[in-house]
């Protein structure tokens, strides 16, 4: 009797295994559902909207969170929205600029450039501008490589080459990020005084910087458009830098949620700044005649100054800061010794 009882117990314990094996082999027709005792638990965990923090022996930020559903939403947003819309914004802005150029062409100075020049930017200001520009372009290229690499570059380069590129982009991006912040702060302090909005700036805006209507849009040393670009760079640049520092230094107690939000803010504001920078680069090079010389040589044509910054040009005339084409050529080392004052002294008074 005792033996029969033991046999019955063993038979009972082996039943699920036997039935399951029979189902796997397709012998039995009846499907036997063996419930995973953890199913309900995991379903409860996964179906929460927000991360539930419990307790853990491991001490650290977010260490009590078993599953963070927010991370799934962030991943989906990053892959489907951020990457997709980011590409649309950048390609769209570039296309619009090209279209504008095709329709409008290069905006030339009425009557042509005179050859007479006026000092505009010091060596330090130009160095600062170009440091910021070079670092910004480097960060933009490496950042976009990291953001769009999976969708755009892997199909072209393959996983092996892209992994090398992504690793170097990440290291370079993290290294140059703080340099961008330092350059940005130097730019803020060096240019802030001349970029405070003043009376007359709104008129410039209403006339579209001279592109709307036929009347002239008056401007000072910096016009409304340049001031707005300056504040966009400074303010968005600071947001990008702050969110970048949160991402690059994960050991200051910020949790995953803050990191995810920082990544979204960092990427979206960077895309915005890159898109706006297309317009700045366009206007400074192919878009308008005589603009790029200001940041290349420090001097601009007086006709250009009169067209875009008439109030400042008037001051230059009054202070006798306009130099002849011959003197400018000498300053550039194209002919004999210059007969005018040095670039720094010539410029300081004229910029007031």
């Amino acid at each position: 009797m005792k033996f029969v009882s033991v046999l019955m117990v063993l038979l009972f314990m082996s039943m699920p295994l036997t039935l399951s094996a029979a189902t796997d082999e397709g012998i039995g027709e009846r499907a036997v559902i063996v419930a995973n005792p953890g199913t309900d638990l995991w379903r409860q965990v996964r179906q929460r909207d927000m991360a539930i923090e419990g307790t853990s022996q491991v001490k650290g930020v977010d260490s009590g969170i078993l599953i963070n559903p927010q991370a799934d939403r962030w991943t989906r947003f990053r892959v489907s929205k951020l990457v997709e819309y980011g590409q649309i914004v950048l390609v769209g802005v570039a296309a619009l600029i090209l279209l504008f150029y095709a329709v409008r062409g290069k905006i030339r100075i009425e009557g042509g450039l005179s050859g007479k020049m006026v000092f505009r930017f010091s060596d330090y200001e130009r160095v600062l501008h170009w440091v910021l520009a070079i670092v910004f372009i480097f960060l933009a290229v490496t950042g976009l490589t990291l953001l769009f690499g999976r969708t755009l570059l892997i199909p072209v380069l393959g996983h092996d080459i892209f992994s090398v590129l992504a690793s170097s982009s990440k290291e370079g991006h993290n290294l140059f990020g703080p340099i961008f912040l330092v350059s940005l702060l130097l730019m803020l302090f060096s240019f802030v005084k001349r970029n405070i909005y003043a009376r007359g700036d709104m008129t410039w805006l209403l006339k579209g910087g001279g592109m709307i209507g036929k009347s002239h849009a008056s401007g000072g040393f910096f016009n409304m458009g340049e001031k707005t670009w300056y504040w966009i760079v400074i303010l968005i640049g600071l947001v990008i830098s702050a969110s970048g520092l949160i991402l690059v230094s994960p050991n200051f107690g910020q949790g995953r949620l803050i990191m995810e939000l920082s990544q979204v803010v960092h990427a979206s504001t960077a895309i915005l700044l890159i898109a706006v920078s297309f317009g700045h680069i366009y206007l400074a090079t192919a878009g308008t005649e005589g603009t790029k010389e200001g940041m290349n040589t420090g001097y601009v044509d007086i006709k250009w100054a009169e067209a875009h910054h008439d109030r400042w040009a008037k001051q230059c005339h009054e202070n006798g800061k306009v130099i002849s084409a011959e003197d400018y050529a000498r300053l550039q080392g194209k002919t004999g010794p210059a007969s005018v004052t040095s670039s720094s002294s010539a410029g300081d008074g004229a910029r007031s």
Binding site: D123, Y124, R126, V127, W130, V131, I134, V135, S163, V164, S167, S168, K170, E171, G172, L175, F176, P178, I179, V182, S183, G298, L331, Q332, G333, S343, S344
Partner: protein, 211 residues
């Protein structure tokens, strides 16, 4: 890959070593005309004084060259720290040249030092091309030297993770180009700035010129 780690590495080291010696020997041991003037001061003290005094700009010039001075120190000190105290470099020097090592700087210090070096070098080069005078006196060689230095630093920092052989080889290849170019360029000022200052200082010191 083997070419970069092998023959090209030894070739570049040979060119660098022979080239530097070839440039320095005549400079230090070359025959000079005897100064027949009556000595008004000590040439030796003038030499020592000038070697150190040139580290600080002249009072009258300080405000005009502040950008170059600040950027110059940022670049040179940053590069020195990265070159001799970065952990991969300390390990490399120990394994391939010296047989001993020293405590490398921590990772965060490496990052800060390289950021100083990058920002300094960028500012110096941009000043070189922006300023009317420095632009005119700069040669193609100066720009090549600056760009090569930048590329060496950049490839080194891109390979910081030490996970990809390709990035290490890219860095090594750029270093090899740098070493080959070094003796034939103004990058030689790494070795010549002290003898040059000393020579000028001795000449001034002997004539009693206070500079």
């Amino acid at each position: 890959m083997e070419f970069i780690d092998g023959p090209l590495w030894y070739f570049s080291l040979t060119v660098f070593t022979i080239g530097v010696i070839w440039r320095l020997v005549p400079l230090i041991f070359g025959k000079r005309t005897t100064d027949l003037s009556v000595a008004r001061g000590s040439a030796a003290s003038g030499a020592v004084k000038t070697v150190f005094s040139r580290f600080i700009p002249h009072k009258g010039m300080a405000s005009q060259v502040s950008l170059q001075i600040i950027a110059g120190y940022m670049f040179h000190l940053g590069l020195f720290a990265v070159l001799f105290f970065a952990a991969p470099h300390v390990r490399f020097l120990d394994e391939h040249f010296l047989g001993f090592s020293w405590t490398p700087m921590p990772h965060w210090a490496f990052i800060v030092a390289s950021q100083f070096a990058f920002l300094g070098l960028l500012m110096l080069w941009l000043h070189r091309v922006s300023n009317l005078v420095t632009r005119l006196i700069s040669t193609t060689g100066d720009h090549v030297g600056s760009i090569l230095t930048f590329v060496v630093m950049l490839t080194g920092c891109l390979a910081l993770l030490e996970s990809f052989e390709e990035l290490r080889l890219l860095h090594r290849f750029s270093v090899e180009l740098f070493l080959i170019y070094f003796p034939f360029s103004r990058l030689m000022h790494t070795f010549t700035f002290i003898p040059s200052r000393a020579f000028t200082g001795a000449w001034f010191g002997r004539r009693g010129i206070n500079s």
